[in-house]
Amino acid sequence: MKRTVCPFPAGHSLRAALVALLAFAASASFPNAAASTRPQTGGTLRVQISERISAPDPRQWPPAPAQAAAAQRIDELVFDRLVRLDEHETILPALAISWQHDTQSKRWQFRLRDGVKFSDGSPLTPPIAAMALQQLLGAAFDVSATSDAVVIQAEHPLPDLPTELATGRYFIFHSLEDNSLTGTGPFRVAEWPSTGAFAKATFVANESCWAGRPFLDKIELMMGVDPQQQANAISFGQADVVELPASQVRRAAQRGVRTASSDPVELFALVFDASRPAVQDARLRQAISLSIDRASIADVILQKQGVTAGGLLPNWISGYAHLFPPTSDLPRAKDLLAASRREFSRPMPLVLFYDSGDAEARPVADRVAVNLREVGIMVQVSGQMADGKTKFPAADLRLVRHRIAAPDPAAALSELLNSLGEAATDLETPEQIYAAERTTLDAFRVVPLVHVSESYGLGPQVRDWMAPRWGGWRLEDAWLGPPSAGGGPVQ
């Protein structure tokens, strides 16, 4: 049995150590501002997001990527996972303080932290944790409890199980008698909007959090707020944290708004419907790939918040993205189009669908259409809601925006390929990951366009915004201080 030991004895001391380290760094860099950078407890953080979630419940994550991402952020306020990832994608203990597996990695045992209580005061026990994970992992896994640990067993090897449990929806929760869920996270739900009511949720600090009480007393979360309203709210001081579309980040910074962006974690890509006769010729698909001016999309439409993408995974995850350079070659594209002997005039255009719920998808799709028109391919751009429940209707190609949830290349590529309808097998070694991506790209069934960062606008009082590089929040570390002057990216 291989054994992994938690590098820190307790979560509370972990957060305290991190905060102390940050405080020290800040005081070293800005000695005159040392008093203002000392974390302060209290205050209400006002957060606005575009999506609207029905309930903080890991069992009911919406299938749409954007909504799933929002659900993950909200669930991370209330619930904890067994393990977590740090900035360097190192697996760190959370509710589990150590874990071990058999030689075939089919059986994993996670020893739970002692003394952890849910926000309602009930203790965290292995049976409760096992029951929660069993619901989330499904019947393919056998989750059981020992006296102090949770055992996860499967028929196939699970070499990356800790990584998977550190991301996604694998939270530990406890079902109460009223069917509500309680968690061990830094906050608990104080108020949740009923269906159809004003979408304002309130979270209060979990005083008994095993990792220590968060600095914030309360979080007011406004859901379903239009991106433009969010931009106005952050500009006029009506919110402390808002989502910023990539195309708005630059303008927001120019208006004095503090911004924070993750590494590129989203992929804009064109996905061809192989069943459509119009796009079955690989030369045509390659011609389309060569026709697209990705730099204009990244620099102009996304206002330099994106990077051109030749590969599926961003370079910070895969490390080999430079092997897939984005290429634009109009003459060759025209030659390939001529070779394919396909014509797409105005009466019979290619049909390109995009997610009409994504404000940035339309201009990207329009730009693609403009680029393709240059080589003689007329494209009809149509918006369609991609809520995950209803699939895109019949279209020759569709513009998808995929959020890479995990920094692990294998998991990220696997999830990405699965979402794009491509086969994903044997992604254990870097060579296998590269080969799988190469195979997918060489078929031109998926044409990457740009990778985009996740960005937030921060109010002047928000301190210690230490979101992961793959996006999301970490509000348990944030606190509210006196207003700070100056906008631009948060360092």
Binding site: R251, D293, D366, V370, Q380
Partner: protein, 619 residues
């Protein structure tokens, strides 16, 4: 048709024609007047639209100018014209400017023609707009019409271009509004006027390109010829378009002015149809027409009443005159008409009364004269008839006296011879008297169904000895009898007597032999009987007097035979005529009615034909 009816008809025709002519004239004059008024109104509306259109262009130019004058625009121009400038940050500016200035199109174009930002098609950034750099001085130009490429279509835009100059470099600002149904909806137009826009973006007439402020125009095909004509000539055109159902076609009539909309290069980009509803005009014309019909109908009705009254007033004395004339014609010579006035009609009535008075006097004198003449004729005939037997009587008596005086021995012989002669002559006198007595004592007919054919056969058989006399040429009888002849009501004895007289008359007319032809036939409800001889024939004068009593052309005739025939036929309600010519024989034709109207007193009431009791035809 009576004179009153004719006169009333004349009045009606005159009044209707006059009213129709006046109504038509009023209608034509009114319609022309209103059409001229409508034309002037339509021209005024078109002029107003032109002003509105030009004002809209000025507004657009003003808005674009205000964009160019903005400090932010100047900063943008300075920033973009820096070396290695980053224009991407202005990618979304056009959309905001368009919203602020309420423009449908805003393009920001760099000096090299590269599109920096576009409100209508943001994705086209970086692409060149070469046309904008060709004009050296945009700031002095007004708005113009131009095709605007859109992601999925082509639009028409009323555009204006202004420039911001930084050093040698220019920043072009293109702004405009879409020329579509919404543009039409914003135009301030008078009531009853509407505008349609045809976007001439493709060859030929495309119905879907014709819109009105509410969207696609219903029944666009009705404008097809008009738009095609403008496409061909590129000149303004005026036409009236009728729409709606056939029933109320005129009610939905509109006068349209087609105004070609051309671009800067003179290309026809659209056709603006400015329609002025003729509904009020039609309603007014309909009202006038209805009023004219009402007034005309009233006038005609009044004219009918007055015409009837006038015609009755005018024709009443004439009708009285006609009635008086009919009474005179019927033999009532004492007929008089009442004189109501002293005008021409009154004078005519006076003249009529005077005429009837004189006619009565003259008839009385004529009757007296004819009576005298008849008596004279009768006396002459009696004298003539009686003189012939009297002369032998006188000679016989004188011879008897002379024999008694001169030859008494032979007296007895002479006496017996003379008395025999006297007895013979007295018998002749008795026969003459008997004939006159028979004519005077013609009995009334006793009607019964009579077989005319059988009557003819019997009469002809009676005269068989005379048809083949010894020593004289024979006469050939020919009978052409209709065996289907119905039996008319007649007196067989009188009719047989009349027929025998006719046959005897014909035999007397053929002393040198010939053919006696008798025909019977049915004609129009009467039985026709013809007796034809091949004798010497009659002159017209003889025909005219043939039925006059005591008139004869024969040496030993009494002149009563044909008079008796005429009397019998007249008593039967029939008619007889003769057709003859000298040397061509003669045909006597009798027509007898089938039925006789027997009055309660037993006399025949069958109407004789007083106007034409005898018709004599001389060939």
């Amino acid at each position: 048709m009576s004179f009153r009816t004719k006169l009333l008809g004349f009045f009606v025709v005159t009044i209707v024609a006059a009213v129709t002519l006046v109504a038509w004239g009023v209608s034509v004059y009114t319609r022309r007047a209103f059409e001229e008024f409508d034309r002037q109104r339509s021209d005024a509306l078109v002029a107003q639209f032109r002003r509105e259109y030009a004002q809209r262009g000025d507004e657009i130019a003003h808005r674009v100018q205000s964009i160019a004058d903005a400090e932010a625009t100047l900063r943008m121009a300075m920033d973009i014209n820096r070396p290695q400038a980053d224009a991407s940050q202005y990618y979304n500016d056009a959309r905001g400017i368009a919203q602020t200035e309420q423009l449908d199109f805003v393009d920001i174009v760099a000096d090299d023609g590269a599109l920096i930002s576009s409100s209508e098609w943001p994705a086209r950034f970086g692409y060149k707009n070469d046309w904008v750099g060709a004009e050296p001085d945009w700031n002095s130009k007004g708005a113009f019409l131009r095709r605007v490429d859109m992601p999925d279509a082509v639009d028409l835009g009323l555009l204006a271009v202004r420039t911001v100059r930084v050093g040698e470099k220019r920043l072009f600002l293109i702004g405009g509004q879409r020329l579509d149904q919404h543009f039409l909806a914003t135009l301030v137009l008078p009531e009853g006027m509407r505008t349609l826009l045809y976007r001439n973006l493709e060859q030929g007439f495309v119905p879907s390109e014709l819109t009105d402020p509410r969207g696609p125009t219903p029944q666009p095909e009705q404008f097809s010829s008009m738009i095609t004509e403008v496409q061909r000539t590129r000149h303004e055109l005026q036409r009236t378009i009728d729409s709606g159902s056939e029933k109320d076609r005129t009610f939905n009539s509109e006068a349209f002015d087609a105004i070609p909309l051309v671009g800067r290069e003179g290309d026809l980009l659209g056709v603006l149809l400015v329609g002025s509803s003729r509904q009020s005009l039609i309603q007014m014309l309909n009202f006038i027409r209805a009023l004219a019909l009402l007034v005309g109908g009233g006038v005609i009705l009044l004219g009918l009443i007055l015409g009837w009254w006038i015609s009755a007033r005018v024709t009443r004395p004439i009708e009285e005159l006609a009635a008086g004339a009919r009474e005179v014609a019927a033999g009532h010579w004492e007929a008089r008409v009442e004189v109501h006035s002293r005008d021409e009609v009154g004078q005519l009535a006076d003249a009529f009364n005077e005429m009837t008075r004189q006619l009565a006097e003259q008839r009385e004198r004529l009757v007296q004269t004819e009576r005298v003449a008849a008596w004279r004729e009768l006396a002459r005939r009696l004298a003539h008839e009686l003189k012939n037997p009297l002369f032998p009587l006188q000679l016989t008596v004188e011879n008897l006296q002379r024999a008694h005086e001169q030859t008494p021995g032979e007296f007895d012989e002479v006496f017996f011879e003379s008395t025999a002669t006297l007895r013979e002559e007295l018998e002749n006198l008795k026969t003459i008297v008997s004939r006159f007595s028979d004519f005077a004592k013609m009995p009334p007919p006793e009607f019964e169904p009579v077989d005319v054919n059988e009557l003819v056969r019997g009469a002809v058989k009676l005269f068989e000895p005379q048809l083949a006399p010894v020593g004289r040429p024979p006469i050939t009888p020919e009978l052409y009898l209709d065996e289907n002849l119905p039996r008319p009501q007649a007196d067989p004895i009188l009719l047989r007597r009349a027929l025998e007289n006719l046959i005897l008359n014909s035999l007397d007319a053929m002393p040198a032999g010939g053919t006696l032809t008798v025909r019977t036939a049915q004609r129009s409800g009467v039985v026709r009987l013809e007796v034809t001889d091949t004798g010497e024939g009659l002159t017209p004068e003889e025909c005219a007097r043939l039925f006059t009593p005591y008139y004869t052309t024969k040496r030993h005739g009494t002149g009563l035979g044909l008079a008796i025939v005429q009397s019998v036929i007249s008593d039967h309600g029939g008619r007889i005529d003769v057709e003859s010519a000298p040397g061509a024989g003669a045909t006597f034709r009798i027509e007898l009615p089938m039925e006789q109207k027997i009055s309660t007193d037993g006399t025949n009431s069958a109407e004789p034909r007083p106007a034409d009791p005898l018709i004599f035809t001389a060939a």
